[in-house]
């Protein structure tokens, strides 16, 4: 990647990372699109899509992966570590406080216990809708459908370990989809 096409003053950039880290309930990349593309035009739509693609094929939390991309692009390498801290810290502090409250006996209150069940149920609905939308927007070919189905069966109903399922399927997928002469990318 070339040096960032438009360097943003670091203080301003860090303020935006902190604001996104503080408000991005659910950690969706849409918050970054709103902050960096729609409101400030610091990234173009294409740059955002590139970052989104990169964040998705690198393992780990997509939100943090995108932070690395955006921080590097807009502030250079020196912005990356503070960017990650700023995007993750508010959520981490919130999670710690919630955990401490949970452990203090709050979870034994019937309303809290039921409320957590309701959150989980609504979260499950959100996951199902997200999956369905992704599946419709990204129709899979035959080999893609086989990879997706095997990953689902292995991790879902069969309760196998990620390490048993993902590396072999990734290697098979890379071999099946390897660049070959005459094949359009």
């Amino acid at each position: 990647m070339p040096e960032a096409s438009r360097r943003v003053p670091l203080a301003e950039l860090f303020l935006v990372f902190a604001a996104v880290g503080l408000t991005s309930l659910g950690g969706r990349l849409a918050y970054y699109h709103d902050a960096l593309v729609a409101k400030r035009r610091w990234l173009t739509d294409q740059e955002f899509l590139d970052g989104s693609a990169l964040s998705n094929f690198v393992p780990g939390p997509i939100f943090a992966n995108f932070t690395v991309y955006a921080a590097r692009r807009l502030g250079g390498w020196r912005a990356v570590a503070p960017g990650i801290v700023l995007c993750a810290l508010p959520g981490a502090v919130a999670m710690l406080l919630l955990t401490i409250a949970y452990d203090s006996g709050l979870s034994r209150a019937p309303a809290v216990a039921a409320g957590l069940g309701g959150l989980t149920a609504a979260g499950a609905a959100f996951s199902a809708v997200t999956w369905l939308r992704l599946a419709i927007a990204n129709p899979l070919g035959r080999s893609g459908a086989v990879l997706a189905t095997l990953a689902f069966l292995g991790l879902g109903p069969l309760h196998l370990s990620l390490i048993v399922v993902v590396p072999p399927l990734a290697l098979i997928g890379i071999w099946i989809n390897r660049p070959r002469p005459g094949r359009t990318p």
């Binding site: 780990g60 999670m95 309303a111």
Partner: protein
């Protein structure tokens, strides 16, 4: 193996194999923290997922819950670092080589491989949640209503999730 080292090993492994974000790692997290390590009960695991829905920032912050349970604050921080730092390092490598990768035919290979894998992992995460949720009538009702509101009316997910929690909790306060 010390507790902190074990937390680090468990979460580095999860973070480095998690394609598709937070939902995609749920089955492995459940397997590790409930079945293999016994750090949490099934109920506590689902509650940690629910608490994670209330926090901003990266998904997977629910990992702090188990880390804190096992080794207090150092355990929580170890879980956070183990999940985020290795993949952030990989992201930095990918960002540094993005131009070369962007022009390479191997980018399409990676996308055609990890896209479907991520879709399968997200389906497995959703399956893990749904199998727990659908065993209880009220939870199943909330999940069904949430699905309809998100799919048909495209309401903001945070709004639907919070409403699901608040309304289910409030029902227990209704007398009788």
């Amino acid at each position: 193996m010390s507790d902190l080292l074990l937390i680090a090993v468990v979460y580095v492994r999860i973070g480095l194999l998690a394609f598709g974000g937070g939902t995609a790692v749920l089955p492995e997290m459940q397997r590790q923290v409930v079945l293999e390590q016994g750090w949490l009960t099934e109920r506590e695991f689902l509650d940690s997922y629910a608490l994670g829905l209330l926090t901003p920032g990266p998904g997977m912050l629910m990992a702090l819950f188990a880390g804190y349970r096992v080794a207090g604050l150092p355990g929580a921080l170890t879980a956070l670092a183990a999940l985020i730092l290795p993949s952030a390092l990989l992201s930095a490598v990918a960002v540094a080589r993005w131009d070369a990768l962007h022009r390479s035919p191997w980018l399409a290979t990676l996308q055609r491989t990890f896209g479907p894998l991520a879709l399968g992992l997200i389906a497995a995460g959703t399956y893990t949640l749904l199998t727990s949720v659908l065993s209880n009538f009220l939870s199943a009702l909330v999940a069904g209503a949430g699905f309809w509101l998100l799919w048909r009316w495209r309401l903001h997910p945070a709004l639907v999730i919070l409403a699901g929690g608040v309304m289910t909790g409030a029902l227990t306060l209704v007398p009788g």
